[in-house]
Amino acid sequence: MASIKLDNLGKIYPGGSRAVGGVKLDIADGEFIVLVGPSGCGKSTLLRMVAGLESITEGEVRIGDRVVNKVEPADRDIAMVFQNYALYPHMSVRQNLAYGLKNRRTPKAEITRRVDEAAAILQIGPFLDRKPRALSGGQRQRVAMGRAIVREPAAFLFDEPLSNLDAKLRVAMRLEIKDLQKRLRTTSIYVTHDQLEAMTLADRLVVLNAGQVEQIGTPLDVYRRPASTFVAGFIGSPAMNLIPARAVPHLPGSAHAAVIGIRPEDLVPDPDGPIEMQVGAIEELGAQRLVHGKVNGADVTIALPSHGELSDRLRLNAAPEALHRFDDKSGKRLD
């Protein structure tokens, strides 16, 4: 268990292109941090820099009190769970779990103890003598986590571990990972492109875009007060409406801001409301209804309950606290 500190971390490739820049993050001992962002935003690169699989060109990584920039991955006291599990196919599950400990000359009795304990926690006891190819995706996933657990490291690093699983399994495994981390209280850094996964797992989120940190905060913080149009549009599904201010001149604050953000569920029908929407397409989702349309030429989506009639024109209103104001050029939040 240890805290991790990323101090102005950055990476520039030899060709000159920048993968990651200016990342400042203090991770408390036992915290579950999620790095989230679209493909190519640098989140995996950042994780691999912490692991020691990518070199660091700027800044420092500290694990505990140690600066580990130049330390080999094996000596950083971290364990990693890969997207494709990276289980050794020619070794049994037990051997896979024991491999890291064997290389560190852990005594046999201790290895057995840790392997059995991990197997119990993850319920992979029955598979210990099988080879990875005889296991299902979810089982292999657990073995990959088991390999990390037996090491009892200072931190777990997860690189999109659930991406290769089908949707149902993903939801189930998500809860298991969260539960596991709470139990073991190991500091964890988790990378995903799925904002829902990020929201449900994180103690705190780090939203990345093109190598830069857009926002760091708890899931609810980031949801309620996105720091930029990027975060606003990325977190939350269906996505927040980002409307040019001139299309909604009657809303408070639209005179000073360039972009107004309103979540689809925050636009409510109001016969006297200031916003008039032309209804275009309707998606019935069962639990709710997504109505797409235009407000003064701007594309808007609202979420309504699934019952009731719908006319061509809707009058809508939004509570003042549900409005987010953003600057046009920088995309940053105003207020």
Partner: protein
């Protein structure tokens, strides 16, 4: 990559450079020797750098050859090799692609038998049936002919298997669409299958050309008329006769010439070459 161990990287470079030197050594030595004159070898020390006789030696070999060895000018031999290599490569590709087409896209009685007959050729390299095959070729009057040099070698199974693999992975929808478009089997073959097989044919051509050019035992056996000698088979005859009178510079020039076309093909078409190698071994 993973760790930063510059020491290992330097070691890797050293190993590779050593490997390249080892691999290039014989050719370098041959090239050097081919640019020297006969007297350079009598002194007892070995020349390591090229000499001034490059054009002279090569011209002589191409033109008149080494008369004492009974071999024709090298140019003639290279021509024979070229004809043989091209015949084998093109011939093999042609009949194999037709056979593969028949086996994959048709159902007929004894199809399995036909397949096995072809398969069996994999297990019968010429070295294993030398004498009887020679007798057959002699009986057909094909000794000392281009046909005799190439035809017996064009029926082996590797090319057929390659094309069979390729055809099996072609989507069925292609045939169905062709049917709907009113195309019969040969039209389908010519208009759809062939164009899609182009890269494989090219890759195979590289491999087969090398195979054909480098044939040794077979040309050695069936050509007694010097006019039909191929360069690879002919080189031994030259080296033999040469032992009494050291004309190594000429033999080495011939060796370099013998290597040139296939090596040029491999280097010039490396991607296709690698593809051909990998595909034929599946």
């Amino acid at each position: 990559m993973i760790e930063n161990r510059p020491g290992l990287n330097i070691l890797a470079h050293l190993v590779l450079i050593l490997g390249v030197v080892l691999v290039a050594l014989p050719v370098w030595v041959a090239f050097v020797a081919s640019t020297r004159s006969a007297t350079d070898f009598m002194s007892g020390t070995v020349p390591m750098w090229p000499g001034p006789h490059l054009v002279e030696n090569y011209a002589r070999m191409l033109d008149s050859g080494v008369s004492t060895s009974g071999t024709p000018p090298v140019a003639r031999m290279m021509f024979n090799s070229l004809v043989m290599a091209l015949s084998i490569a093109i011939g093999k590709i042609a009949i194999s692609i037709l056979s593969a087409f028949a086996i994959v896209y048709f159902r007929f009685p004894l199809r399995g038998l036909a397949f096995w007959c072809i398969f069996v050729t994999l297990m019968l390299p010429v070295e294993v049936r030398i004498v009887p095959t020679f007798q057959v070729v002699a009986g057909l009057g094909l000794l000392n002919s281009y046909a005799g040099l190439s035809v017996p070698l064009i029926a082996s199974a590797t090319a057929t298997f390659l094309f069979r693999q390729v055809f099996l992975t072609m989507p069925d929808e292609l045939v169905e669409a062709a049917r709907i478009d009113g195309a019969g089997p040969m039209k389908f073959f010519r208009d759809i299958l062939l164009p899609l097989s182009r890269t494989n044919m090219a890759a195979l051509f590289v491999i087969l050309f090398i195979y054909g050019w480098n044939q040794y035992l077979w040309p050695l056996l069936i050509t007694t008329d010097a006019q039909y000698y191929t360069i690879v088979a002919g080189i031994k005859r030259m080296a033999d006769a040469v032992d009494g009178l050291p004309q190594w510079h000429l033999v080495m020039a011939t060796a370099v010439l013998a290597m040139l076309p296939p090596v040029a093909v491999v280097i010039g078409m490396q991607k296709l070459f690698v593809k051909g190698l990998v595909e034929t071994e599946k």
